[in-house]
């Protein structure tokens, strides 16, 4: 009975007892969710345009952050380092398109997936060779990002502390999504991208080559990765451990669907908040650390009931 009580009743009692703590947890989850969503956004961009399931998005985040920090360590001013990091992501995008995507065009999904895992290996090695393997401190203040925190009092019941960098992250994420929405809907290239997502031959009629489109998409994903890297790095460190965390984008995508930008955001938030609450209120029952798998299990359970995802339509199988 104790067991059941601990699982079914006690966590909720705790939530009600300490609403400030609950809000703090939800906020933490929200911020983590924003970062998941940003990574997922990178996935979605590429998946939409080329059908490639980009496992390397995580390492791209790490690589982008490392480039920025690494360049600054070498004495480059922060603003220049930022521009150079963007440049590096552009070069990376072109290289990926030229040496990986183009030769593999038309291959089955699993092969493309494998190629991005190969890219992951390559970039990990490259990053370590250039910047070394140790975690690095993000140059938050040098980039003009806010530090410090604000505490909100919750009447008598306690207080909630919001880190400014987290708020900045949420704002930047919002701007990024808005920017992408404008990019997709208002620009010629953006429309071409959507055309590609629907039909590869249709894109040709827009007058943009597929190769260009892919390079642009990978570049866009690179910029998203850079932003993610900065934010995440500011919260913890810039390290290769991020690469594993980035896999969380997968359950996010399962929830949100592989091609939906709003889906990525909503999925990210559900996962982020869900796993934080789960960890804090239930994790201790089994020794903690359930954050490492809870997201996947949430996705798994979700899949069993809605195999087509949150926004997908029911598939009628045909023969």
């Amino acid at each position: 009975m104790d067991m059941l009580y601990n699982i079914l009743i006690d966590p909720f009692v705790q939530m009600v007892d300490a609403p400030d703590f609950l809000i703090q947890v939800v906020w933490e989850g929200f911020v983590a969710g924003v970062l998941y969503a940003l990574i997922a956004l990178g996935f979605v961009l590429i998946y939409k345009a080329s059908g490639v399931f980009n496992f390397a998005q995580g390492i791209m985040v790490v690589f982008a952050g490392l480039s920025l920090v690494g360049l600054h360590e070498k004495g480059v001013p922060a603003w220049l380092a930022l521009i150079l990091a963007i440049g590096i992501m552009a070069i990376l995008a072109v290289c990926i398109e030229k040496f990986v995507m183009r030769p593999l065009v038309g291959q089955p999904d699993i092969i493309l997936l494998m190629a991005t895992i190969g890219m992951t290996y390559f970039l990990i090695g490259l990053g370590e060779v250039i910047f070394g393997g140790e975690p690095k401190q993000m140059i938050t203040s040098e980039l003009g990002l806010p530090t410090g925190s604000t505490a909100f009092e919750m009447g008598e019941r306690g207080l909630v502390i919001l880190q400014h960098i987290d708020i900045a992250a949420a704002v930047i994420a919002l701007l990024m999504v808005g920017g992408l929405a404008v990019f997709f809907n208002r620009t010629r290239i953006g429309r071409a991208l959507r055309a590609v997502a629907d039909d590869h031959t249709a894109a040709l009629s827009v007058g943009i080559s597929l190769n260009q489109i892919w390079a642009i998409v990978w570049f866009a994903a690179g910029i998203v990765a850079l932003a993610t890297g900065i934010m995440w790095g500011a919260r913890s460190d810039v390290s290769f451990a991020l690469e594993i965390v980035a896999l969380k984008a997968l359950p996010v995508l399962i929830l949100g669907g592989f091609t939906s930008i709003p889906g990525a955001i909503i999925g990210g938030l559900i996962i982020g908040i869900g796993e934080k609450i789960g960890e804090i209120y239930w994790g201790s029952l089994v020794g903690g650390g359930i954050e490492s798998w809870l997201a996947y299990v949430i996705a798994l359970i979700f899949l069993l009931f809605r195999p087509q995802g949150l926004f997908g339509e029911k598939i009628i199988e045909r023969i």
Partner: protein, 358 residues
Amino acid sequence: MFYREAGQYKTSYAADQQIFPIRQDRIGIAVILVIALLLPLAASEFMLSAIAIPFLVLALATIGLNILTGYAGQLSLGTGAFMGVGAYSCYKLVTIFPEVNVIVHILLSGTFAAAAGVVFGLPSLRIKGLYLAVTTLAAQFFLEWCFIRIPWLYNYNSSGAIEVPGREVFGTLITGPAASGTARYYVVLAIVVVMTLLIKNLIRGRVGRQWMMIRDMDIAAELMGVRPLIAKLSAFAVSSYVCGVAGAMFVFFYLGASEPAVFSITLSFQVLFMAIIGGLGSLVGSFFGAAFIWILPILLRVGLPALGVDVAAETVFQVAQMVIGALIIFFLIVEPHGLARLWAIGKEKLRVWPFPYA
């Protein structure tokens, strides 16, 4: 060129359906087996312990993954965790029943992995492709978490690691730190060869055909009387069993001691690479893939300094990782069906020699 198939006619179905219907192939495989048997005579302890044994074990793990992904078409990213289940089960079995032959434990430990595989394979009935990969990731992270958070699994060892005790078979020490490389090598070789043979048999029979039916066209398979539940779960079970046995061997015959991090997603990816580079749906490819992914970095690590490239050990490791990454992409571009396909093409070329095609 070497093939002289003329005159090799079959007068019975048994002869026609044997694993190596061509005489020259039978000779080739016999030669390879003899070399494998004689290897300890020529090889150093390092070669046996650091190359041959892990190569064979990982080849078996790759075969395990290949059953699931290559033959039954279900993508899995949780191989490492299933190997871990095997390793931890074996460790527990050995400590609980110390008097039982350790090889029995190793073979038994696979059944625990198989059970885990079936549980995490259940979603495969409703989920396909990349979605399924996510559920196997759930297995990976959940099981990895279990290895850390359930102290019973490592006998409440303060280091959180498992230490392999020394065990004898026929009076020879085959596990633990004091066991000789030769002894461990022969045990591993025997298990891997026998299991490969058994799996080959399974694959060329009804069960294997059912897996391939599901892989190639699941709807048609069902309309031909294949029960998806049974076909898919049996693939998960057999695959996980094999991976579990490989995992147990990985710890008992190679590492000697292990911590949860060994069975992380990195190992899953490594085995997946072996399967892909080797060629999905090919047993011989599993060996090629394991050799490629396991032995190449060692060669690079040994080879680069030997070539006079003076670099730090750490850098060599990183360069090796880059090279592997690049080679994976290169291989996917050149031959997405892996080394096994290259092998098949090469063999076909030799069979039709001197003609360019049949």
